[in-house]
Amino acid sequence: MEKNFLVSASPHITHKDTIPRIMYSVVISLIPAIAGSVYFFGVRAVWILLFAILSAVATEALIQFLMKKPITVKDGSAIVTGILLGFNVPAAVPWWIPVIGSAFAIAVGKIPFGGLGYNPMNPALLGRAFLLASWPTRMTIFKTEPTGGTLSGIDAAAINEYGLDSITSATPLNVFKTQKGIISDWNELVKSGLEDPILQEKAAQANNAITQLYDSSSNLLWGNVGGVIGETSAALLLIGAVYLIYKRYIGLRIPLSYMGTVALLSWIFGGTEGFFSGDPIFHILAGGLILGAFYMATDMVTSPVTSKGRYYFGIGCGIFTVLIRLVGGYPEGVSYSILLMNLAVPLLDRYTKPKTFGVKKK
């Protein structure tokens, strides 16, 4: 029996991981957080995510069809982009916000560079940055479901009394930024020797508010706070992250160095009573840091490939995040810091090449 055999270069066996397998695992890992978003924001969250996913997939398919290229939506990467984009908008936005955001992410952030594997920046984050720049107010109206108290001080009983079904509230980082601003104004005033009873009163209130924020860590962990759809519950995101780490689809280098840097810098500089008075736990749990550190910064395409490079990448993201949060104009800096560091990836890879086996360091 003479038949035609396959001939190819070695190796003749391969690992079972493939791109679709990785992408759909990311989707699976996000299910707890999706379930959480439905719990906190209602069915509306599902619609927003659905619009975001459909728009991402449809945009990719349409462009590839028009360009007569192979249609690659089956690999699942557009679905991941869609979910992450949906996670990055508040629940109160109109339906066309996620649609435009996803379309922009794919049409501007991914396809022009050559599609999957070639985009320099995380498409979902690029989409979010575009939305934030175009519709700043719509992108910053946050709602929380009226279960157990909120950060603006209205408790559940009061909400029930007024018969509201949901209330808008500032995100913890928003509160932090404004209150910290008041405190530093007051400190300036004291330094210059002037007095202002009203501002003094305000500063005292601000101090209270920040203490209250720091005490609300459990709310941050479980997600009972204002924020975009996907960033509210740190715990649910971590469940998915553990699954991805177990599958080795994300490593620990970026998330740990990222969060470590944020914790360290916010502890040193983030306090209201001078150096080393900040609350690192609050800064890690608040805002999109967990979502960003585990799901956005670790995006394979836009993070360094070298081991050292990944540490530097995480540290860079951490520095920019703290800078933006404490000094910059926005309350939240995760997405911009990751986008900035995305652009530094080729440089990081170039300067952190591993030492080849048997080559002496010069």
Binding site: F5, V7, S8, S10, P11, I13, T14, G117, V305, F357
Partner: protein, 445 residues
């Protein structure tokens, strides 16, 4: 031993599939009707035929002689008549001048195969002569002439000898079976090598997935009173690669472009050690070897003692033939072996296994785009950047590929194995190495 983990950085854990054949004793393959002896079965200059069509030969007679120092002779593996000297397909690729011998079925041995009494007291030069006359070439797959390894230049002292029983390639069990069935002979071979080199430290390195071999070797070392250490290595591919093996055991790093002797080490494969023992003790040339015939595409996986030059077809038939869904035949292991287009090719000195893989096992897929997942960089045992190297070679930037160290690649295949996009790194690197060598040659002239 110290507490340092006996391993190296990087590497992968492919599925082992050793269970197909590891429990099967070595079976002797019936004599083939004819054998095909290629003049090139080793690294170095091809040997020169010294027989003519029509000559009668006996088992162990020289049919082609070494040409130069880095070359080995080959011997008739059956007794009979030389019927053809022509180019025949070779398992390592292309067609190679081969001596075809028709067996007379008598299996008469050459008169040169005679036991040496007190072989252990032979002169060292005499031993080396026997080894080079036996045509021994590394039997782990690379087939580097053994006597060359045993003759380091005067300024290179060897202080450590490592017997490579790692057998880290999945599926293959030939070395494993040899260690179980011929432990004493292998140990004697090791002792002979150490005597030739005058080195004191001897290690027998075996991956921990062969606990029976480790304990048997330990027992045999004790019984023979040999001054050898049997060490269990972490199970990881490519643990048996020379550089990684030396790193794991001695923590010495062979410099880029260097040889084990540059760090005072020497490594021989289990089969080669047995061959050295046989060559020195009985003048037996290398005319047969153990081949693992395995894979899901084989009806009955076996370890077979086959004559060099036996066509693959004979071994496969002996193992019940191919299954319907066998799609790929490989000479060697699944990670570094070479795919065959025909079953006519002969078993050579470097054929450690014949794999028949089914479509499901090979998982042939079209390569996708690189998503910079970094897995290849993490697993590369040579600490290269396979992702960048592959891109540079694809775009014919051989200068950049050279700078990134493509010539240091050992072609172990870990990067292609782990790649989720199924990029054919090794394919590109083999090609890139050729192009880089061409480029360097052009620059030098």
């Amino acid at each position: 031993m110290n507490l340092r983990k006996l391993t190296f950085k990087g590497g992968v854990h492919p599925p082992e599939f050793k269970e197909f054949a590891e429990k099967k004793s070595i079976e002797i393959l019936p004599l083939p009707e004819s054998v095909v002896i290629p003049v090139q079965q080793h690294i170095g200059a091809p040997a020169e035929p010294v027989v003519e069509v029509g000559d009668e030969v006996k088992v162990g007679d020289v049919v082609c002689e070494a040409k130069g120092f880095v070359s080995v002779p080959s011997h008739a593996s059956v007794s009979g008549k030389v019927i053809k000297i022509e180019k025949r397909p070779h398992p390592v690729g292309g067609k190679v001048l081969s001596i075809v011998i028709e067996s007379d079925g008598e299996d008469q041995k050459s008169s040169s195969i005679t036991p040496n009494e007190n072989y252990f007291d032979l002169d060292i030069e005499e031993m080396k002569k026997n080894i080079s006359a036996a045509g021994l070439a590394g039997m782990g797959g690379a087939a580097f002439p053994s006597h060359v390894k045993l003759s380091p230049p005067a300024d290179k002292k060897i202080d450590t000898f490592i017997l490579n029983g790692a057998e880290c390639e999945p599926y293959l069990t030939a070395d494993h079976r040899l260690m179980l069935e011929h432990p004493k002979e292998i140990i004697e071979g090791v002792q002979l090598v150490m005597k030739i080199l005058g080195c004191k430290n001897g290690y027998i390195a075996i991956e921990k997935n062969k606990p029976d071999a480790i304990s048997l070797m330990k027992k045999s070392v004790q019984e023979t009173g040999a001054n050898l250490k049997v060490v269990g290595l972490n199970v990881k591919y490519p643990q048996g690669a020379e550089k990684q093996l030396i790193k794991a055991i001695t923590n010495r790093e062979i410099p880029a472009g260097g040889l084990p002797m540059d760090v005072a080490c020497l490594v021989h494969n289990v089969g080669t050690a047995l061959g050295i023992y046989e060559a020195v003790s009985t003048n037996k040339p290398l005319y047969e070897r153990v081949v693992t015939v395995t894979g899901k595409g084989i009806k009955e996986q076996k370890n077979v003692l086959a004559r060099i030059g036996t066509p693959f077809q004979n071994l496969i038939d002996f193992c019940g033939g191919l299954t319907e869904n066998a799609v790929k035949i490989v000479n060697g292991g699944p990670m570094m072996g070479i795919a065959q287009f025909s079953l006519e090719v002969p078993v050579t000195k470097g054929t450690s296994g014949i794999l028949a893989l089914t479509e499901k096992e090979t998982q042939a897929r079209t390569p996708g785009p690189c998503i910079s997942c970094c897995h290849c960089v993490d697993v590369c045992p040579m600490k290269l950047m396979p992702n960048d190297l592959a891109k540079f070679i694809e775009y014919e930037r051989y200068d950049e590929a050279h700078k990134l160290g493509v010539l240091d690649c050992i072609e172990c295949g870990s990067c292609s194995f782990i790649c989720p996009s199924k990029i054919r790194h090794v394919h590109l690197f083999k090609y890139g190495k050729l192009e880089v060598s061409k480029m360097l040659k052009a620059q030098n002239s």
